[in-house]
């Protein structure tokens, strides 16, 4: 137990790094993903095509490859991120946005057509009916899939460990290497920290889901 006490500051910092990585990327991905979803249902073919291309590309590429590109690939087009943390946030949000887009789109598709028809009938245009009628409803049905996208994102932050971000997984490796006799303890501590994020999220999402459930 003194082992845990000794390394508490390290674990706490790593936990906060993981959490902020997840929260920041989650916010960026939510915005970007919603824009992409709107593009995918838009009347302009080029936007639809662009969004579809984006989603298909990122859904079919391993996150690690995205990381490699942003960390060591984009320098060849003379771009650089100011820090490795920001690189990680960028990789995680670009990747997750594709999944957010699909979740939101499935939500848009789940809104009964009558709603959109009614919105159109009272004279709202595409932008208005989407932003005032369809999307607010879509976000309600979309809570469960968005929730699981969030949980997946929280877990995916672990890949940043391979790209110079000292998150929980990086600390797991450091401690495991330095304290081979305490391996079980190291794993318990780090897994518990991850569970704290993922299980709490799952629980909150469950509550939110029941609150927002639309009675039809």
């Amino acid at each position: 137990m003194s082992f845990l006490a000794d390394n508490f500051p390290l674990l706490r910092d790593a936990f906060l790094t993981t959490l902020s990585l997840a929260v920041l990327s989650g916010l960026v991905a939510l915005v970007l993903g919603t824009v992409l979803a709107a593009m995918r249902v838009s009347p302009i073919a080029a936007l639809r095509g662009l969004a579809t291309f984006y989603v298909e590309t990122f859904r079919n590429t391993p996150l690690t490859v995205v990381f490699f590109f942003l960390a060591f690939g984009i320098v060849y087009i003379d771009l650089q991120f100011p820090s490795r943390f920001i690189t990680a946030v960028a990789a995680l949000s670009l990747y997750t946005a594709a999944f957010v887009c699909e979740a939101v789109r499935s939500g848009i598709n789940a809104v009964p057509p009558g709603q959109a028809e009614a919105a159109r009938a009272i004279g709202l245009d595409f932008r208005q009916s989407l932003s005032t009628v369809v999307l607010p409803q879509a976000f309600r049905t979309v809570v469960p899939p968005l929730g699981s996208v969030w949980i997946a994102l929280a877990k995916n932050t672990s890949i940043a460990a391979g790209f110079a971000v000292t998150d929980l997984t990086a600390v797991l490796q450091r401690l495991a290497n330095a304290n081979a006799d305490q391996l079980a303890m190291v794993f318990i501590a780090v897994v518990a920290a991850y569970l704290l994020i993922t299980l709490t999220s799952a629980w909150l999402i469950g509550i939110l889901e029941r609150r927002l459930a639309i009675v039809r």
């Binding site: 009347p43 302009i44 073919a45 080029a46 298909e56 859904r59 079919n60 590429t61 391993p62 996150l63 690690t64 490859v65 490699f68 060591f72 690939g73 060849y76 087009i77 003379d78 999944f99 699909e102 979740a103 499935s106 848009i108 598709n109 789940a110 809104v111 057509p113 709603q115 959109a116 159109r120 245009d125 595409f126 989407l130 369809v134 049905t141 469960p144 899939p145 929730g147 699981s148 996208v149 949980i151 997946a152 877990k155 995916n156 890949i159 391979g162 997984t169 495991a176 391996l183 079980a184 794993f187 780090v190 991850y194 569970l195 993922t198 299980l199 799952a202 469950g206 889901e209 459930a213």
Partner: protein, 317 residues
């Protein structure tokens, strides 16, 4: 609302002109961005054909290495998939058990493995298991990690599948005097598996992508191999071929995964039409609406989210 055309009028001549302008501008913007990227690449000499030739010239050993690595990736993904499917089906049945002493541990296992990062699971298999006498190679640790994680995801997919089968099926089977395990093994699971086939293939894409985490244990799959080639060639030639090798790895993943996704779509359209699967409720729950229509039994908690995103489980990694 699968037809999003409800959202806007059929465009008239003026709107059509506006849209065409919009499309043009959008396309132009994309082209400009691509052009900019290519221009920078060109300035940095990244487009020289000689740099790309390395990917196709057998004398450099690079194509062979990449092919071999793709083989390694597919191998570990295949092993993981088969094991995860079998265990996932078992866990799904266990979770639907009426006995709490079966259900509770199964639920715990499923929830645990879904809540822990795959990377940590792989490290656990690689670093910790040997300490308790289970020695695993890099391949073994990666395959086991992938199996543990995906079996939990697949268990939830199967459960949704089993629950989506019309109650009449099991009632009829019980009526014939079949026992519970018989109903499960002969009536429900086979139908659920067939119905979930597209989702299963989609999950294979996820698994294939996840195999790239093998870098952490030094398994030479596609990505680690490209990286290793980068390191080797960097040493002899400087960063001459770095960009090309990353692009190659990325493209191979995309091509293989898009092919798999197309297969999933094809299988989905086949199963839709097949009279053997359409006899029961709606086809695979592909949208949030159809899934939540399955009733409170599966929308109790975030677990249900697994089947909600279209065509592919929401559980990406």
């Amino acid at each position: 609302m699968s037809d999003s055309r409800v959202l806007f009028d059929l465009p008239g001549p003026r709107a059509r002109r506006r849209q065409r302008l919009g499309s043009l501008l959008g396309a132009l913007l994309v082209l400009v961005l691509i052009g900019l990227a290519l221009w920078r690449l060109g300035i940095n000499g990244q487009l020289e054909p000689e740099r790309w030739a390395i990917l196709f010239d057998p004398a450099t050993n690079v194509p062979q290495r990449l092919l071999e690595a793709l083989g390694n990736t597919l191998e570990v993904a295949a092993v993981g998939m088969v094991a995860a499917t079998a265990l996932g089906a078992l866990l799904a049945v266990g979770r639907l058990s009426e006995h709490a002493w079966v259900r509770v541990p199964v639920v715990t296992v499923i929830e645990f493995f879904r809540a822990v990062p795959l990377l940590v699971l792989i490290l656990f298999c690689f670093l910790f298991l040997p300490q308790v006498g289970v020695s695993l190679s890099a391949f073994g640790a990666l395959a086991l990690g992938l199996t543990l994680y995906n079996m939990a995801v697949l268990a939830e997919i199967f459960r949704a599948g089993i629950l989506s089968i019309d109650r009449g099926q099991s009632e009829a089977a019980y009526g014939l005097g079949l026992r519970k395990w018989q109903v499960m093994t002969f009536i429900l699971v086979p139908q659920a598996v067939r119905r979930m086939l597209p989702v299963l293939i989609a999950q294979l894409v996820v698994l294939l992508k996840d195999s790239s985490l093998g870098f952490i244990v030094g398994y030479l799959e596609l990505l680690r191999t490209s990286r290793s080639l980068v390191e080797t060639l960097n040493f002899s030639f400087g960063p001459r071929y770095t960009f090309q090798l990353y692009v190659a790895a990325g493209l191979i993943y995309i091509v293989v995964n898009v092919l798999l996704s197309q297969l999933a779509k094809f299988v989905e359209s086949r199963t839709r039409r097949s009279p053997r699967t359409t006899g029961t409720a709606d086809a695979v729950p592909t949208g949030a609406a159809s899934a939540s229509a399955l009733g409170p039994a599966i929308s109790a908690g975030p677990a249900s989210a697994v089947v909600l995103s279209p065509g592919r489980p929401g559980e990406e990694s």
